[in-house]
């Protein structure tokens, strides 16, 4: 059965129970049900900087390599550290903003926002390359207030091989 369109995988809205999958089948599209969600919590060991725990959740053992998971989380942690880094550049940006009564941000983005966009692209990229083929989905932590990295596990309905 050929799908008419191919979409980027998206998380099901939390409002949709798994029974909605049957309704959508009317539109000739199959929606895999959400099997469960894993939440990677924040690591506060170094203070309030954004950093996530690298502990590998047991629910993902069957689907993902520990190494890949580690790499993803470490990269995210590094990117957040880059966004929140205190240094000459961030101070300069802060002082410049103060002097212009913060109107400068009407024309330019803050460094933090730039890095967040980078993170968002990275997550999208990871989802496409690594997580989607395994029936997983990473949610950008900014959607959750940088509290958790939400990984949605979809039911395995693939007919073909795992990779």
């Amino acid at each position: 059965m050929k799908l008419e369109r191919r979409y980027a995988c998206a998380p099901a809205s939390d409002r949709i129970p798994s029974t909605m999958a049957e309704t959508h089948s009317l539109q000739d599209l199959r929606q895999p049900a959400v099997s469960s969600k894993v939440f990677v919590q924040r690591d506060y060991g170094s203070g309030t900087i954004s950093k996530f725990q690298t502990k590998f959740p047991s629910e993902l053992e069957s689907r993902l390599d520990k190494q890949q998971f580690d790499e993803t989380i470490q990269t995210l942690n590094n990117l957040y550290a880059e966004a929140e880094k205190l240094g000459g550049k961030s101070y300069l940006e802060g002082c410049l903003a103060c002097l212009t009564a913060y109107t400068i941000f009407l024309c330019m983005e803050t460094h933090y926002e730039k890095v967040l966009k980078k993170i968002s692209r990275y997550i999208k990229d990871q989802n496409e390359k690594i997580y989607a083929p395994r029936g997983l989905l990473l949610t950008d932590p900014i959607e959750r207030g940088l509290r958790v990295v939400e990984i949605t596990i979809y039911e395995d309905r693939s007919i073909g091989s795992g990779r």
């Binding site: 979409y7 409002r15 969600k37 205190l86 101070y91 009564a101 926002e113 207030g145 073909g160």
Partner: protein, 391 residues
């Protein structure tokens, strides 16, 4: 595009557009994300401006500042400019603009509201259910932050463990990151994202009030050469100005101390890092030296809004990279289940798709009676009476 489709072909996913998932609710105009935010906030200018529910005291602050400065510029400045130097009204003008800019910025900026836990997240914390009843998680959790034990409390309203330094504001009904206090004068919580604006506001206001006070006195003195000091003084409520100045200057001094030691008002009042609690008690967030603490608080990177406040529209814009056309839509947090204690605000009607109208206050349902306001302000600035119009 075909190649990427090949990768995804093994699993067939569809985009779940929140608009399409409920066919009966299909609407032409996109629903704004911030409208789905629970909590008692007011939004204006299409979600760009965010304030607390009670804004009367904020309008009072505005009126007092405008009135004081207006009278100063009208009655004292002409005299001072002509008799002394025109730099006086110029400096007063610059200070006034800075005060207003920082006040508005402090009032209108999202203080760093934490999005509430999604039902799945809350369920994950609450643990496995027995007979369908969710067990609430333990009241608090201990973590080690830079060697110091910090207790993270569980927020029953937001259904999550609060990050360190976050606190739940009962007036706004939100958890706020790095919560300092709720300031009624500014009409908003003071938290991570607007603390520097608040500090610059009270600092510049101190300078402005001292400046005005000094030059009103000067004016009185110069005039008293003609009419006599006491008669000139009795025309001016300078004595009242004197007390209000000390409150604002005192508050600025207090916040300067807080910034230099990297504490929040909340922590200082509770004595969280005081050595009285224990010999080894220290502030794990302090950078060690005053300069770094000050720079970090005032010039550090400013995090953008998070969660529902991330963008003003529901539908995310398409990404620049060559990906399949429809972008993944972020999941909307569902309304909290009936177990959640606070009342849920009903979703307002979606506004028409027009350029953002000025001052579009959201019709929110009347909240329950708010608890007594939490004002951990050590000094509340009393009224700023205007300088007298001298004869």
């Amino acid at each position: 595009r075909r190649n990427r489709g090949g990768l995804l072909n093994q699993r067939s996913f569809i985009v779940t557009d929140p608009e399409r998932s409920f066919p009966g609710q299909r609407s032409r105009s996109p629903r704004r994300k911030w409208q789905l935010l629970p909590g008692r906030n007011r939004f204006y200018c299409d979600g760009r401006i965010m304030m607390a529910r009670q804004t009367r005291v904020f309008y009072l602050t505005l009126v007092l500042i405008l009135l004081t400065c207006g009278l100063f510029f009208t009655f004292d400045c002409p005299f001072l400019a002509s008799h002394l130097t025109p730099a006086i009204p110029a400096v007063a003008g610059v200070l006034f603009v800075f005060v207003m800019a920082t006040l508005l910025r402090a009032s209108f900026t999202d203080p760093g509201v934490l999005p509430r836990a999604t039902p799945d997240e809350a369920a994950d914390l609450e643990g496995p259910t027995g007979e369908g009843v969710l067990n609430p998680p333990p009241r608090s959790r201990e973590v080690l932050v830079n060697g110091q034990t910090v207790r993270l409390k569980y927020c029953f309203t937001c259904r999550m463990f609060r990050p360190p330094r976050a606190s739940h504001c009962s007036l706004c009904d939100n958890c706020v990151e790095r919560f300092d206090h709720h300031c009624p004068w500014v009409g908003n919580c003071v938290g991570r994202r607007n603390y520097r604006f608040f500090y610059l506001f009270i600092l510049s206001l101190s300078f402005l009030t001292l400046f005005i006070f000094a030059f009103v006195i000067t004016h009185v003195i110069i005039r008293s050469n003609r009419t006599g000091f006491l008669s000139a003084l009795k025309d001016s409520p300078v004595v009242v100005c004197f007390f209000s100045i000390w409150s604002i200057v005192g508050l600025s001094g207090f916040h300067t101390y807080l910034i230099s030691s990297n504490q929040t008002t909340n922590e200082d009042i509770k004595g969280s890092w005081s050595t009285k609690r224990g010999k080894d008690n220290y502030n794990p967030y302090s950078y060690g030296n005053i300069l770094t603490n000050c720079c970090a608080a005032l010039c550090g990177p400013l995090p953008p809004r998070s969660g529902l406040l991330l963008s003003t529209t529901v539908l995310a814009s398409s990404p620049p990279s060559p990906l399949p056309p429809l972008p993944p839509l972020p999941p909307l947090p569902a309304p909290p289940p009936p177990l959640s204690p606070p009342p849920l605000l009903p979703l307002p009607l979606s506004p028409p798709l027009l350029p953002p109208p000025p001052l579009l206050p959201l019709p929110l349902s009347p909240p329950p009676l708010p608890p007594p306001p939490l004002l951990p302000l050590p000094l509340s600035p009393p009224l700023l009476p205007p300088p007298p119009p001298l004869l």
